[in-house]
Every structure is written in C-alpha cells, then in structure tokens.
Symmetry: C2
Subunit: 414 residues, 2 copies
C-alpha cells in the first residue's frame, strides 16, 4: 500500500482552481492561454521542489519524471490535462493530473522505489474548445509528429497555434526539451465520470474498459414551403413532418433496445421559420455512439434509412453527411484487472464501465497499454462551473491510482 495524502490532494485542487477561477467557482483556463501557462508553471515548481525531472515536448505536453530502480525501462505514465472549457469545472483534467502528482509525491514521501520510472503527464489541449480538435497533445504524441495541417491552425480568438505553442514552451524555462513520443510501459488516467452512473449507484471507482465510438451526422431535409392555412395535406411536402417521424421512431428503438447505444439530437431548426408557414428545410445533427464498431455501423444505417424513408414518404429529399467519426477503443485488460485489484486492496467498490466521452487515454492507447479510473461527479455534471467531486471520491481515485501504478510498474503487460 502507498499512503497518499488526501488533504494535500484536496488543497492542491483548491490551489489550481484559483488559476483562471471564475466567480461561480469554476475555471476558465483554456489551452495555451496565460492561465494554462500559470498552471503548468505551478506544477513544474512543485515538481522541481521535490527533485523530479521536468520536461516538455514540441506540443507543450508537460512531463514530470521520478526515476525507477531500472531507470532505462519504459515508464508507467499517469496523468491527464490542465486546460479547461471556457466555463469549465475545476476537476475535469485537473483531478487526473494532480492525483498523478500526488502519487509521485507519496511514493517519494514513503521512499518507495518503483521498478520502472513513473512519469506524470499533463497533455496539451484536451478540451479542443479554443483550438479544435481536442486531445491535440496526446494525438500528436501517439502519431510521433505534429500533423502538417496544424501549421496554419487558428484559435477561436484568432491566435496562431504555432505561436501559442512557442510562447507556452518558452514560459517554462526550467523544463528540458524532449522530442515528441517515447515508449510507454502503461498509461493510467484518473478522470471524473462526466456522467451520473457512479454517483447514482454509490460506487467510488469506475474501471473503464474502453471508449465508445462516436459518429456525427448533419441532416438536411428539403421540402416546399407553403401557407399553413391554405395548404391541404395532399399539397404538403413538409420536411419537419418527415424529420419528427424518423426521430421519434429512432428515439423509441436505438437506446431502449441497447443499453450501450447513445443517440442524441442536439440541434434542430427549420426554414423559413415563420409560425404560419410550412417549412421548406428541416435540419438536425445526430450524435451516435457505441463501443462496438459493428453496432455503430448498424445504428448509423438505421438512422440514414429511417430519415431517407420518411423524407420520401413526405415527398421531400434528404441529404445526410458525416461530420465526425471517431473509432471506439478497448483498453488493456491487464490494466483494467490491475485497477480492479487496486480498488479491492483499498476496500473500495468498483464497477466496469465504458466512457462515453473521449479522453487522452484513447490516443495513448494507440501506442501503449492504457486504461482509465473514473470517479463520481455530482449529478453527472461536467463542462459546467458547478462541476463537483466529493473530496472522499477524489482521494479514492488517487489511492487506486497509486496502487495500480505500483503494481503496473512490476507487471509484464501483454
């Protein structure tokens, strides 16, 4: 067992929440802004004070290294991110990064020598709100290069990615520069669930088996506008009638038939948008998710064919295109077992679960065994200034991470 210091962890969470803190108790610490740089600086200072090695790569991913007994072996990497949504919470990312740092300090406090080096990471721009897409740091790390088409990339506020990376790297002079990508023995990330399941079942630890695949569709149905009062049914080509018929059927089947499936319509609109005019255009987005790629394909097919059928039935034409497609990932079963075992050692209830949201672990998983530990957040609320994690749950996640890190450092992973 590794004794972690729960008070220190919760005090650190407080301290980092003050950087970019909002009046409502959340944080605005978007990627590569001054706030993000201050958070990186604080973490680096704390690390250097403990004698750890601090380094960064060309994507400004930040690494804090504690040597292992066999220091040439690939490290166990633990961490998450420090950037936030513009009106974000204080736990999304910060909890995983600071829990990992607490593990490093606890190992140091207890004088425990790990077989392998342990590296804490804070990945750059997980959120993807200032610069799209999200998970840029881990994505480039896994690819071993910065994608060439990111050269001209601009932020929502007009800033250049290249310039902001340079300035961020420059703002951390004590960090050694290393090149992008290195061998990783195992990657474990603590994160808040961002959903309601753990809290609702009073389970402190989620052992994340993988991340759902996600696919987005843009749907446009074209009909004909006409006067609401003068146009009888035979003369109507109403695209909204077609869309609601398709959607209501899909709502009644996709999720009710399969608890792993997700089906969400987050945007809907019609044109011309007049109370007394039949619309000529109806639009919506569809967000579909499933851990099984075959089932995701089936769901997409069902959505496409249902909308096409209902559009035709109303004399309308449907255009549908994918606007986003992210394959699912399955995490290392060895690491999942290590996490489950760690929870047991700590006397904490755990449950296997899937992640509905993307995380840096999805990209790291492409080049190394990876897994995640989820902890409950109040009301499943995230990307919200009211995001909250009970201190006991934060400590629980950190403790499980500590045990799992120690065990993994000794494990041979297949």
């Amino acid at each position: 067992m590794v004794d972690i210091d729960g008070n220190r962890l919760n005090a650190r969470l407080e301290a980092f929440a003050a950087i970019g803190g909002t009046v409502k108790g959340g944080v605005n610490r978007q990627a590569l802004t001054d706030g993000d740089r201050q958070a990186r600086q604080l973490l680096a200072e704390l690390a250097l004070a403990r004698g750890f090695t601090v380094s960064q790569d060309p994507m400004a991913n930040l690494f804090i290294r504690r040597a292992g007994r066999n220091d040439t072996l690939a490290p166990v990497v633990i961490g998450s991110h420090l950037d936030s949504q513009p009106a974000g919470g204080r736990f999304d990312g910060a909890l995983g990064t600071l829990s990992a740092f607490e593990v490093l300090e606890s190992l140091e406090d207890a004088g425990i020598e790990t077989e392998r080096p342990v590296v804490v990471v804070s990945w750059t721009n997980e959120e993807g709100c200032r610069f799209a897409p999200g998970c840029m740091g881990s994505m480039a790390f896994a690819a071993g290069e910065i994608p060439p088409d990111w050269q001209g990339k601009l932020a929502t506020d007009g800033a250049s990615l290249v310039d902001e990376l340079k300035a961020t790297i420059k703002s951390l002079p004590p960090a050694q520069m290393i090149s992008l990508g290195f061998p990783i023995h195992a990657y474990i990330e603590v994160h808040i669930e961002q959903g309601p399941a753990l809290e609702a079942n009073d389970i402190p630890i989620g052992v994340v088996g993988g991340i759902q695949g996600t696919r987005w569709l843009d749907v446009v149905i074209r009909g004909q506008t006409a006067h609401a009062g003068t146009t009888g049914l035979a003369y109507r080509r109403d695209p909204l009638r077609a869309l609601t018929a398709a959607l209501s059927g899909l709502y009644e089947t996709i999720m009710p038939d399969d608890t792993d499936a997700r089906f969400t319509v987050g945007r809907i609109s019609v044109e011309p948008g007049s109370v007394n005019a039949i619309p000529d255009v109806a639009r919506c987005t569809v967000d579909m998710r499933h851990p099984d790629p075959m089932r995701l394909d089936e769901i997409e097919q069902r959505v496409l064919s249902s909308i096409a059928k209902e559009a035709k039935r109303q004399g309308c034409e449907a255009e549908m295109s994918r606007s986003f497609d992210m394959a699912s990932c399955t995490f290392s079963t060895d690491l999942q077992a290590a996490i489950e075992q760690a929870a047991m050692v700590r006397g904490l209830k755990s449950t296997p679960m899937l992640s509905g949201a993307f995380h840096d672990a999805l990209f790291v998983n492409r080049v190394a065994p990876a897994a995640m530990i989820f902890v409950p957040c109040r009301d499943g609320l995230s990307h919200n200034e009211a995001e909250h994690v009970e201190p006991d749950y934060a400590v629980a996640g950190c403790a499980v991470l500590a045990e799992a890190t120690l065990a993994t450092s000794r494990m041979t992973l297949i």
Copy 2:
C-alpha cells in the same frame, strides 16, 4: 350579363404592379408608405375621371361610389386592398380591388343602372407586415372606431401609425372625408386562393363559404442538458424526444383524419444547441386551423394533452400558451348562392371551398352579409414575388363578381 373588359383589367394590373414594383416582378408596397399612397392616388384619379365619388375615412380606407337607382339604400360593397408584403406578389389584394373597379367601369360603360349604389373599397393595411395586426382598416370599420390602443402603435421601421394615417389621408386631397363605418347591404371580395386546390383541379372559381378559425400555440418543454456520450437512457430527461414523439403522432392524425383541419409547426429549436449535448429546452410553435370552432377546440386539446403526456413520459415539464386566436367565420349563404349562380351564368366551373387565410371579408362579415370569390394562383404561391394569376382566371373572377354584384343589388338578403 355585364360585359367586362378583360384587357383593361389586365392592363390595370400591370400599371399598378409598376408602383413599388421589384426587379423580380413582385411588389413592395407596404401599408401607408409612399408606394401605397401612389396606388391610392392612381385609383382615385381613374375614379374621378369616370365621374365616381371618391371618399376616405379616418383609417384611410378608400371608397369609390357609383350611384344606384335608389341611392339612399345601403350599397353593395366590392373590393379588397392595395398594400402588399415587402416581397409580395402583384395580385394579392390588387386583383380584388381592380376587379371591383373594372365592375364599376363596366356598369358605367354599359349604362346599367343598379338598384343600389355600388361602392369599391380598398381597405388599409390588410397585410399587417409593417403595422401589426393585419386587416386594420376593415377591423376598425367593423368596430366603428379605431381601437384606442392603436394610438401609440409603431411600424417595423419606427414610423407612427397616427402620423402615417394623417399623411396618407392628406396625400389624397380630392377625396371627401367620411366617418368610420356605414351600413352595407352586401360585401363581395375577389382574391387569389393563395393555395393550390383550384389550379390543381382546373376550376376557375372558388365560392368561399367561410374562413377557418386559427389558433397559435407557443410550446416550451424543459428537461435537463447532459453529455451525449456519458448519459444513459435512465438518466436522460430529453425535451426533444418528448416533442418529436408528440408532434409525429399529431402529424399522423390531425390532418389525415379531417380534411378541413390544418396543423403546422413552423418554428422549432433547442437549447443549448450543441451537437453532443442533450438539450435542456425544446421550443416550437403550432398553427392549428379549422372552420368548426368545436373541432378547433378539440384539436387544441389533443395537441396540449399529447405534448403534456410525452413531456411527462420523459421527466420533462411542458409550458404551452396561446399566442393568437382568431375565431372562424361563416359567410352569407345567400351571397354564396349568388356567386355560384353568377359562375353558372358565365359558364365557369365553380367549387365551394374554405379560406385558410384571413381576409378583410372576415371583419366586414361581422357587420354585413359577406362572401368571397377565389381564383387560382400558380402553384398556390403567394406572399412571394413569383405569385402569378393567369389572365383568363383574373377575367373569370371579375366576370363572376360583376354578375354577383348586379344580382345582389336587387336581392333581399336574410
């Protein structure tokens, strides 16, 4: 039979279409603008040249009077309006006004003395787009007063109704001022159908039996926003799922079950409007119409209870309020019979029908027997610069109006 001059009518339609004419062949002649005043001036000039009496009332309703044999009797009033939508067509309103004027000229040309005086009217602001509501002129005429709350009324462009009425009245010095409201023996209005039924069935004359009642609802359903990926079905309170379930059921029943019913959703939106967020608010408008007030009540009840039920099923709350309520009207059966008879005399096919849109006749019908004659418009298109009426159909409507006016002048109406 009254011989009308079809060429003169179509030439007049051309001439008036040039006032406020748009490059796409439509008109922008909104109520009480310079264009509207020019059209009134032209009509008054033509009337004075024929020796008719021109007068206007405090709502700037314009009247052109041809004396009858028994000139103290209440007149037969025929006409429509000269104002248009901002991107309107050249026939909506103008066809009815200029057909009525053609009837007056034809009676004069033929030296036919009518039993009663015949008055051509052009009502002020039927469209209601610059100043709301529509049908202001006929509404005030029927009420016998200008509603006190119109005193401070402003146009969409900021102009004051009171000022614009004054300026419009002043722009027509040869017209006598008369007070608002006078006894009417019968009112007949020619108008384009603004729907597709007559054209589709190749019937030149619609005998309008009444105007549907219309009721508008504003619907708001409140649920809870959450992450599209992390939130399982049991934790969702999705207001759009509730709304599509209710609407798809209503689309499948209200109009299919009753050919006189109209059910239209012209606006729909959700908040926060993010692809990967379950909405917390879904909104829509509902436009319901039916000629039978009892059936309209039933339809409204069905809409309210269906939305409430589906909202409850999804753990959401629905708020619904009426934003508009216009009672249906039934036109004089004597006048309908006169119009049907007139079509027969002219050898024109006619069909009884209802109007889905409001017209000035709805308000005149409150104080005098009224009815309407519809003629086909291409593709049912109206409130559109591409609005078109075949010259033969325009002539047909005018000819039927002429016969019906002559007959009505002699009739005793119950």
